[in-house]
């Protein structure tokens, strides 16, 4: 039951994040939307892991490990997008044209 609830929350978050990514023009808000979307996807994956609970584990450890890896990779992507955004902003500052 918990798995289904959070799986559906993941589906909703995916839609919300996707909307923000496509409809908000501000780059920083797009980066936030990308992270909201990422959270939704990991929750869908988490629901899958929870459904696979068994053999004495509260969830299937394989998708759980995949989510951990995914969170770190998504974080790295966020830092790169931010670095690029700040570089563009600092160029604007030094050369307003």
């Amino acid at each position: 039951m918990t798995a289904t609830v959070f799986g559906l929350v993941g589906a909703l978050l995916t839609g919300i994040g996707l909307f923000g990514l496509l409809a908000r023009p501000e780059p920083l808000l797009r980066i936030l939307a990308f992270n909201v979307l990422g959270g939704g996807i990991f929750l869908v994956f988490g629901a899958v892991a929870r459904r696979g609970a068994g053999a004495g584990f509260a969830g299937d450890p394989v998708p759980q490990a995949i989510i951990l890896t995914g969170i770190v990779v998504a974080f790295a992507a966020t830092t790169l997008a931010v670095a690029l955004l700040l570089r563009i902003a600092s160029d604007d500052e030094s050369d307003p044209s």
């Binding site: 990308f34 996807i41 899958v48 790295a76 790169l80």
Partner: protein, 494 residues
């Protein structure tokens, strides 16, 4: 686990190790690491191809002796072997070409561009190899992210405002593509409890979760492959990128996501693909061929012309989908479609790498790259202009080039499959390609008579010519006779 499985494993791990070591080694050390790895990488790719050809079966390496579904494996089939070879040769050519721009002399201080270029090149190489030999859909996700994280900075290596913005746009497209793909991965695991596409082959059921997963993954991969209408990031990304970066991006990076797409459609769910969906992919490919070529024809800058040509040439790859989906029971033309598609990917890689590098040499010498301003280029730079023309022959599909063989196989398959409309698209695309290549060659061959024909011999010209020659000679190889690229096709598994 097979005898030669360590070869593809090393083909992945050595460039990755080189990329990691490049950070402490600094720009000069990184350049040396890259150059040392080039012959090793070529040898590993040749060895893998030989092992696949000799055994007639994929070579497999189980990581840590754990077999899927619990563990992960590397598996090199014919498609992998062809792509490993392509990647090794294109990376070698680009690396040798790039020494002039990104080399560091002994004792010279490290520059930012040189520091970044070599590890990024190694990362693109390792990630491309990983994409073609990994069998786990999540490992493939990590490989796609490696490709993105390396391609984004290499696009904006010159640090100019326009290229930084192009890089941000590319990053947004690529990240959106990645997360859609990852969403599909989650559903596949939920439905089947494994992510290994070899295990998934033949197990896939025609159910809602499967179709939603494959639709999401397809959409994500199309964004990364830059298939029209998701191609918007590609031309600006190429416009300001260093020629070496454009060459790798067009030759290898966009092919990586394409290979995964082929594995997904014809590995994970052969027989399940709806013919209508495949027709849609084919139609997008056809639109890319026609609209991309027309856009190329209308560009004012040589580099952008070549970039739009990539948009068009990617389109040909997608003609594989409707033809293969129609194929079960018609193995003869399925095999031909398959070989044609792979050959298109490979010959385009060589031809386009040559074109971007040639365009780079021309722009560097003339100081600009407007097509109107190319007059006299053929006298100043006969070798790059000739290479551009040769590569153009392959893109047009003129015999005996590799592009001809590829397009001929796709065209005849289309007729045999009763889908003659794709044949018309291939012919129309060839004419349009001919027009834009002619436009460049005609401009370059007019002499304005004022410039003295001062040639400056440049070793890089040979590299550019060699790449173009490979794309032509590919058509002379009796590829179909080798049967290499057919080995390990999952859609044939019982």
């Amino acid at each position: 686990m097979t005898a030669w499985g360590a070869l593809p494993m090393l083909a992945v791990m050595l460039p990755v190790l080189g990329m990691v070591l490049a950070l402490p080694a600094g720009a000069r050390g990184a350049e040396r690491i890259t150059l040392a790895l080039l012959p090793v990488g070529i040898a590993l790719a040749v060895g893998t191809a030989a092992a696949v050809q000799a055994s007639g079966a994929p070579v497999v390496h189980l990581l840590g002796h754990w077999a899927p579904p619990l563990g992960l494996s590397f598996r090199a089939d014919g498609l992998s072997a062809a792509m490993l070879l392509t990647a090794a040769l294109v990376v070698a050519a680009v690396a040798l070409f790039a020494r002039a721009g990104f080399g560091t002399a002994a004792g010279a201080p490290e520059t930012r561009a040189a520091f970044a270029f070599w590890p990024l090149l190694l990362a693109l190489w390792g990630a491309t190899n990983l994409v073609v030999v990994a069998t786990d859909l999540f490992t493939l996700y990590v490989a796609l992210e490696l490709l993105t994280f390396a391609a984004m900075p290499i696009v904006c290596l010159d640090g100019k405002r326009a290229t930084l913005e192009a890089a941000l746009r590319y990053l947004m497209f690529a990240l959106l593509g990645s997360v859609l793909y990852l969403l599909g991965v989650a559903l596949i695991y939920g439905a089947y409890g494994t992510l290994d596409f070899v295990l998934l082959a033949g197990k896939a059921r025609a159910e809602v979760p499967t179709y939603v997963a494959v639709a999401l993954m397809t959409a994500g991969l199309l964004a990364k492959t830059a298939l029209l209408p998701l191609h918007l990031w590609l031309p600006p990304a190429h416009a300001g990128a260093p020629p070496a970066a454009s060459a790798i991006l067009s030759a290898l990076v966009v092919k990586g996501s394409f290979v995964i797409l082929v594995r997904l459609w014809f590995g994970v769910m052969p027989g399940l693909a709806a013919p209508a969906a495949a027709q849609v992919l084919g139609a997008l490919g056809a639109a890319a061929i026609l609209l991309g070529s027309v856009a190329a024809l209308r560009q004012e800058r040589l580099k952008l012309l070549v970039a739009y040509s990539t948009v068009a040439q990617i389109g040909y790859l997608f003609l594989m989908f409707p033809l293969l989906v129609a194929a079960p029971g018609h193995e003869a033309f399925a095999a031909k479609t398959w070989t044609g598609g792979v050959l298109q990917a490979v010959s385009h890689a060589f031809a386009k790498a040559s074109m971007f590098l040639a365009a780079g040499l021309i722009a560097a010498r003339l100081g600009q790259d407007r097509i109107d301003g190319l007059a006299g280029a053929a006298r100043l730079l006969p070798v790059p202009v000739a290479a551009f023309g040769l590569a153009g022959l392959s893109l047009m599909g003129v015999p005996p080039s590799g592009g001809f063989a590829a397009k001929w196989m796709l065209l005849t398959s289309a007729i045999e499959a009763g889908q003659w409309w794709w044949a018309l698209v291939i012919l129309g695309g060839g004419l349009l390609t001919g027009s834009y290549v002619y436009r460049v060659m005609a401009a370059a061959l007019t002499g304005d008579g004022t410039q003295p024909a001062l040639r400056r011999p440049d070793k890089r010209e040979k590299i550019v010519l060699a790449l173009a020659l490979v794309s032509v000679v590919l058509g002379l190889l009796p590829l179909a006779a080798f049967g290499l690229v057919q080995v390990g096709r999952l859609d044939l598994a019982p």
